[in-house]
Every structure is written in structure tokens, then in C-alpha cells.
């Protein structure tokens, strides 16, 4: 067997935290090896939240949406002192986002951050989502909603889970003059159609022209047009601009149920560009290995394909996610486990406490706040309360004390803790 390749950093996981970490680390000249199931990122909404809601702290209270995420941070940390944001300077959250946004803009996937305020954007259920950073293809919708500009929401024949009428009926109180239309995707043979198919079809100018021609007579007085997120897979800004030119008015995207196009764009962008930045990226594979002795490098095995690779890394960043990502495991009759190194997991006493009785309880469920406790440098703690290994860091949703689903802080925690971990470990090198 050949000598294992040696790296500065092993990034374990390919969710948003892992991908952002690989971007940050490669920008800082670190030699990075990374592995994980990149498919999971397709299940993200593609919208980057920092803080969208404060869960209730007492029974009977409602959860509260957050309009100004940075202003609300002190209140969040008062209620949730163990939140990973407590370990970050709020300025680092902004820096982290802007560095990642620069990368994405360069890749043809521009995002816009909201300054002090969250954007309000429509969801496919017709509810409103408070989010700090959105793809630019969603932006005209946020602006039209804020101004109450007349818009037409368009559904595509055969696309399940997206009803223009549902969006319009539920948004009507906030958005006067909403109209709806339904159109068959020109060139599609009929039957079921998935957002990803339409997005790939719209990469071709002729398909955009045909769709615009089908749409034009349906739009009436609408000044803006909203579609499910289907505006191309690569360089969606160009597709949106061309549709705007053809229709004579701005076009925006509404996220769809997973797996949606904005998530798939992220997956394809990271997968496509990271190797060019020198990242040794192993997709659909797992990186596993023992926790080394102090002072020793990580000896990791990249497994899951017929040919296994062995790597050495001076440091490791654990971004393996929660249950869906595979970073945490939960079996019947056993405590929750951390699946790569067997690190201790802060968690409720037994399974009966994982979930509350009511699914939509505005306080959220305890199981989602379980995870790794870390020191100020984001190094996970071992059973003795000291860092498990001086070169092991953790970032993203595996961290304890946050409930990304209910606080709408998933992207913020992922991107900002990845940034903090990478800048710390790069500085400590």
C-alpha cells in the first residue's frame, strides 16, 4: 500500500458547514481533504438564515419571528446561553457570510445579505420566511412583497407541491393584488415534472423563449412574476435576466420542497469548484478513524467506495451534521452517539424526553438541542471536560445548544462556526 497522503486539514462532512470550511481553508492556503455524502445539501432550501425566530421559552408562549437578526442575538443568548453564537463575535458572522458569498458570486451563484434586517420571502405554502441572506433570484420577490407591488405567481403543470393558488390565498393579507397563473412547461411531454428538470431545460435560450411566450398572455397587470425555483441550474442570474428581458418585468424564484433547485445548485457548485481549489474531495464517501493520541496526526480512512484511501491530517474539522447528515446516531434503548469519533453528546436523559408531545410546540424539541459541547475555539470536549484532541474542531449543526430548525439559524451556525474554526486553526498552525 502506498504511503498515505498528508494534509493540513481533514474536513469531515460535506453539508453547508463542511463546504464553507473547505472554501475558507483553501483560501487560506491549507491543504484540505474532505469527504461526505454531498446529496444532503440538495435538501437545503438554498436560503441562508442567520436567525429567523426565537422559540418560546415557556409553555403557552408563541415562537416569535425575528426581523433584525443581529439585534436579536443578545436576546437569543439570554434564552439559550449554550448556543454556538455565544462563541462568536457577531462581526465574524458577517465576515464569514461575505467571504462565502464572494466565492458563490464568482461561481455564478450570487446571494444578497440583508444588512440589519431579514428579508421576508414567500414559501410554497404561502407562509413568510424571515431570512438574512437569499439567492439574488429570490430578491425581486422580497422587494415586491415589501412594496406591495402587483405580482403574478405562476405554477407549472404537473409540478407537485407547488400551488400558485395556495401561495396567493395565504399571502393575500400581506400582498394585495396577487394573481395566479398555471402554465404547461413547453417542450415537456406532460405528466409529472420536477423542478430540477425544468431548471435544466431553462438553461437553453429556446426553452426560455417558449416559456415566456406561454406566460406573457397570463400575466395581466402584474409588475413582477414569481415562479417555483426553476430558473436554470448554472448561472441562474443569467437565466433570470433573460426571462426578465423576454417578459418585460422582473422574475423571482420561490423555494420548493426538498430536494429543490437552489440546494442542488449549491451541491453542484461546491462539488464542481472545490477540487480546482486544491481540495481533495471524496463525494458519497465517509471519512472515519480513531481519535489520535495527543500530538499525533489523524489517520483517517476514506470508505464507502470499492477503493479505500488512507490519509493523514494534522487537524480535523467535524462537520458531520445531525441525524440526516449522519453525524449523530440515535438507536432504541441507547443514548445518542457521535458517529465518527464516539465523542460525548450533550443530550436529554432518555428517549422519552427527546420530543415533546406536540409536534409544533413553539418551544421546539430537546433532541434538536443535543450535540457536541465545545470550548471557546470550537474544539469538542471529551468526557473529562477538556478538548478531546488539541487538533479536533467541530462546526455546524452537530453543535449542541442550538435548534437550527426552530431558530432558523442553520446556515448562520454552519457558515460562521466553520469560519471561526478555520481561522482559529489556520492561525494556530
Amino acid at each position: 500500500m502506498s504511503q498515505p497522503e498528508r494534509y493540513d486539514l481533514a474536513v469531515i462532512g460535506t453539508g453547508l458547514a463542511g463546504m464553507a470550511a473547505a472554501v475558507f481553508a483553501s483560501s487560506r492556503g491549507l491543504r484540505v481533504v474532505q469527504a461526505g455524502s454531498t446529496g444532503a445539501i440538495s435538501y437545503t432550501s438554498g436560503v441562508f438564515d442567520v436567525l429567523g425566530a426565537l422559540p418560546a421559552t415557556r409553555e403557552g408562549q408563541p415562537a416569535r419571528p425575528v426581523e433584525r437578526p443581529f439585534e436579536a442575538l443578545p436576546e437569543l443568548l439570554r434564552d439559550e446561553p449554550g448556543h454556538p453564537y455565544a462563541l462568536l463575535d457577531p462581526e465574524d458572522i458577517r465576515l464569514a457570510f461575505h467571504e462565502l458569498m464572494d466565492f458563490l458570486r464568482g461561481a455564478g451563484l450570487p446571494y444578497r445579505a440583508g444588512g440589519e434586517r431579514n428579508f421576508l420571502l414567500p414559501t410554497p405554502a404561502g407562509t413568510l420566511k424571515h431570512s438574512w441572506c437569499v439567492p439574488e433570484t429570490a430578491l425581486p420577490g422580497c422587494e415586491a412583497l415589501a412594496q406591495g407591488a402587483p405580482a403574478c405567481i405562476v405554477a407549472i403543470e404537473g409540478m407537485k407541491g407547488f400551488s400558485a393558488r395556495q401561495v396567493a390565498v395565504n399571502l393575500a393579507p400581506h400582498w394585495p393584488g396577487l394573481t395566479t397563473a398555471r402554465v404547461a412547461m413547453p417542450g415537456h411531454p406532460g405528466g409529472e415534472v420536477y423542478p430540477e428538470q425544468v431548471a435544466r431545460m431553462l438553461e437553453v435560450p429556446a426553452a426560455r423563449k417558449a416559456l415566456a411566450e406561454a406566460l406573457a398572455p397570463l400575466l395581466g397587470q402584474a409588475r413582477v412574476v414569481g415562479l417555483p425555483a426553476v430558473l436554470g441550474m448554472h448561472r441562474p442570474g443569467d437565466v433570470a435576466a433573460d426571462m426578465e428581458r423576454l417578459l418585460g418585468r422582473p422574475v423571482f424564484e420561490i423555494p420548493t420542497m426538498p430536494p429543490g433547485v437552489p440546494g442542488i445548485r449549491l451541491k453542484e457548485t461546491f462539488e464542481g469548484l472545490l477540487p480546482g481549489r486544491g481540495v481533495a474531495l471524496f463525494c458519497q464517501q465517509k471519512m472515519v478513524g480513531p481519535l489520535p493520541a495527543p500530538g499525533e496526526p489523524f489517520r483517517l480512512r476514506v470508505a464507502g467506495q470499492p477503493v479505500e484511501h488512507h490519509v493523514l491530517a494534522d487537524r480535523a474539522l467535524l462537520c458531520s451534521g445531525r441525524f440526516l447528515g449522519g453525524g449523530l446516531g440515535g438507536l432504541r434503548g441507547r443514548p445518542l452517539t457521535e458517529t465518527v469519533f464516539g465523542l460525548p453528546v450533550a443530550q436529554p436523559e432518555d428517549r422519552a424526553q427527546w420530543y415533546r408531545q406536540d409536534y409544533l410546540d413553539p418551544r421546539g424539541h430537546a433532541v434538536h438541542r443535543a450535540g457536541l459541547r465545545v470550548d471557546a475555539a470550537l474544539r469538542p470536549l471529551g468526557r473529562d471536560g477538556a478538548p478531546a484532541h488539541e487538533g479536533l474542531y467541530a462546526a455546524g449543526s452537530i453543535l449542541a445548544g442550538q435548534d437550527w430548525i426552530r431558530m432558523k439559524c442553520g446556515a448562520g451556525v454552519a457558515i460562521a462556526t466553520a469560519f471561526k474554526a478555520v481561522t482559529t486553526l489556520a492561525g494556530a498552525r
Binding site: P124, T127, K129, V169, E192, G330, G333
Partner: protein, 535 residues
Amino acid sequence: MQTEVLIIGAGATGTGLARDLALRGVSCVVVETGDVNSGASGGNHGLLHSGGRYVSNDTEAARECREEGALLKRLAPQCVEDCGGLFVAVAGDDENFVADYPGWCAAAGIDVCCVDPAEARALEPVLSPKVVAAFAVPDATIDPFRLALENMAHAKALTGCSLLRRTRVTGMDVDAGRVVRVHTVNTVSGEAGTIEAAQVVNATGAWAGRVAALAGASIPMLCSQGTLLVTHERMTRRVVNRLRPPGNGDILVPGGTVSILGTTSVTIDDPDRARPTVAEADENVRQALPMIPSLGYTRFVRAYCGVRPLIRSDAGQGGDGRSVSRGFMLYGHEEAGLSNFCSVSGGKLTTYRLMAEKTADLVCARLGVSAPCRTRTEPLPAAPSCRWTEPGFAPRLWTQRHDADDPLLCECEMVPASAVDGIMDDCGQQFPDPGLQALGKRSRIGKGSCQGAFCGVRVAAHLYDTGHYTSPKGLTRMREFFTERFKGQRPVLWGPQLIQAELAEALHCGLLGLELEGPDTAPAPGAAKDEEARP
């Protein structure tokens, strides 16, 4: 509203009674607080008992099950899978019980056949190598939803009998020994109503004591919660019972494409508060492992519970749910001075027809109707709109037709939009505002591995597009549906289902924000501003 007979409760007994009366030419109205089979009729194993379960301690119940089971196999074959059953003992189980078992079966007239343990394992490979004894009995499975829906559909076809869903009985006016008026409230709209009937039947299962009390009568009820677990895939061909006195986690029943493990027995005070617990889920699995070891790592998708309506024959002397008779009781309430009110409770799904027959006999005698019962001989007609509850039916149909223009709204169970439209039309004729929950009762929507997380969103969008939902109330219906599905998920959230639940919550709360106030719960922003502007 006026009717000849008012039936309270649309479980197996109530709907079976509606059909029995209709076959005798008597018309009726059925009122139901929830929907069809909201109580024990929907919260059971779907086991059509051979009677083998009860031979050791309740010969009479065993005989009833044997006779009724055989009848239903013949008269409602579309609702029955005649899969057979095994009773198996493992090393360490009571040998005397094993030795006595064939004799008990013979005494109850149950056709029992001794099976060599090795042969039993060949028949059902998931059985433990530690099986030491096995007996085959004529157990079968029955789809309680199709059964109740088809009974109701037949009653409607015969006499125009109607079902008032989401209608709770709140009071009764009693005058000179007669219930002259029944007060109801629609649990959705809050609208109050009254029904006048010549005869009133209380077929409310675990709620029978409460409803009887509204008429000033009393029934000594014991409410016993039983929790069952649904596996992701079917594990056995036959019903597999543990050969020992009835206890927790000792029956695994096929349910079409899945298997159902049960049952616990926990005495509870309030049937409205029944819900499956984590402890019961763990107990069922723990108890079943000696019989079927692979249940230790099988994926479970759901738990549910029913409340057994047990009648305490030793009223006032306590006793737990296991030792109370599975036989049913019919009360004429003459002791309370009533002449047009009766209650039927206790019993089992397997004996629902007999319970309906005896109740109809009493009602008809009181009405002066002499027509005899016909459900003992008349087959239950299959109704096309009721076939979607059958596991595996939708995928079979889809592979036959493969209609590309009929999208599958529920991808786990392959339920197409045309099925949703058909059920909605059918329901719309029966009651107002059918929605996600009504669809869930009448089809496999929400029953697959995603437990409604994805199909709930797709079906809601479809219902907006078809005009069934026209206001933000559709969001309320989504919240209700997901909340209801979660009750059953919560006890089995480990392994793959824990992952599934995280994805579901990421969709429902992370993206859609359904835990926050929405246009259906919060006042419109314009309205709020108007209020602020006031001096």
C-alpha cells in the same frame, strides 16, 4: 333533524348497525365526534380472531370469535386476508400452557393443528430458533377502515342513511322515560343542532359510559389503552401469536404491506387523552424479541393506540384490562327507566357484526319492526371508493394503468391524484369540508415511510388547486394533519425514522414555518394597523 334511529359512534359497531338496520328497512343517522373508526375500531391490530387468543380464559369470547370470523371471511372477503395464524412458544415459556392449548381450542370448537417447530420456522423464517412448540389456527386479518366505510356506504345506498362527522353529542333531553331530543355541536364550526329520533343507540366504545350518563344511565366501563407498532415492511405471511397467557408485545399481525406488533394494556381514566408512549413502544419490542429477534433492528414507522372498551363485570372490584371479558354487553337501560335508549359496548372488532345484530334486534323490537337480521347471510358489497385503504392496492393499479397524467401525490404508497379527487368527491357528498385527515382515513396517504411529511404538502397544494381549499384554513388543516401523524411517530423515533422526522421538521418548520403564527392564526397586518391607528 329527525330520524327513525340515531346511532352515536361511527366505529365498526355503529356503522355495522347502520347497515343491519338498513337491511331491515329502518333508516338512521350516524353521528360521530371525529371520523369513521376514530376509537378502538381504528386503533387495533386488524386481526380477525380465530378465537385462539381467548381459549385459555374466555371460552365464550373464543367461540364468538370463531363463528364471526368464519362468517366475515365468507361475507366480506374484500376486507379480509385469510392468511392463517400460528401460536408459538419459545424456550422458557410455560410448558403446561402449551400442553393444555390444543384441548382448550377443541373445547371452543377451534380448528387447531400442531406444527413441528422446524416446520414453523420454515413457514415463517423470522421466528426465533428457540421456538419449542407451534400450533396453526385459522386467524386472518381484516381492514377495519374498509369494513366500516363499506358498511356505511351500503347503509347509505339502501336507505339514504347519513353520517354526520365531527358532530359531538353534548346533551340529551329525557322526558317520561324517553330521550326526546339529542343536542349536538359541530366540532369544526361550533354550530349547535338537535336530532329527534324514535330510538337512540350509544355505540361509542370507550366513551359509552359518558354518553350513557347524558341520558342518566350508567355503564361500568374500564378503559384500557393498547399501543401497537407498525413496521416498515411486512415480516410474516401469517399472524404470529405468542403461546402464553395474553400479555404485551405478543402478537405480530400482517397488515397488507406492513406488520403490526402489539399490544400493551394500560388502564387510563380518560379515553380522550389516549396516546401511544415511548415506554409502551419499548415494552412491545422487548417482549416480542424472544419470539422474533429481528424486531430488535427492524424499522418501525409508526405507533398508534386504541382504547379497549371493556365492561367491568366485577364493577367496583378493580382488576386490570387483561382479566376482563372480551365479550360485549348490550344495555337496554330499563333500570334507568328508559325505553328508547340503549348502549352497546365491549366486544371485539371480530364480533362487531354480532354486536350490531343483537343491538338491531333490540331496537327493532322497540320499534315494532319484525324484519329479521340479514347480515348473517347477505354479503357486504364492495364499494369502489373504499378500496384505497388496502395496502398495496394503489401500487398495483398504478403499474397496470401507468397514467402519466395522474401524478402520485403520495409517493411512498403511490396514491395518485385521481384517488384523492375521487375520495374528496365521495366525502363531499357525505359531509362538508373534507380534507387531509379525511383522506388519511380513506386511503394510504400518510401511511408510508415519510408518514405524511411530503405527501401532506403535495396533497394540500393539490387541494388548493382543485378548489377544495380556498382560504388560509388549508394551512390549519396541514398543521392538524402533521400534528396528528406526529403523535404516532413520536414513540418510534429512533434509527431511520428519527432521520425521517428531522427531515420532515426541517420542511414543515424550517422552510414553511408552520410552528409560527400564520395567516390562518394571526390577524391580518392591515387589521392590526387599523387598531393601532385608533385613538
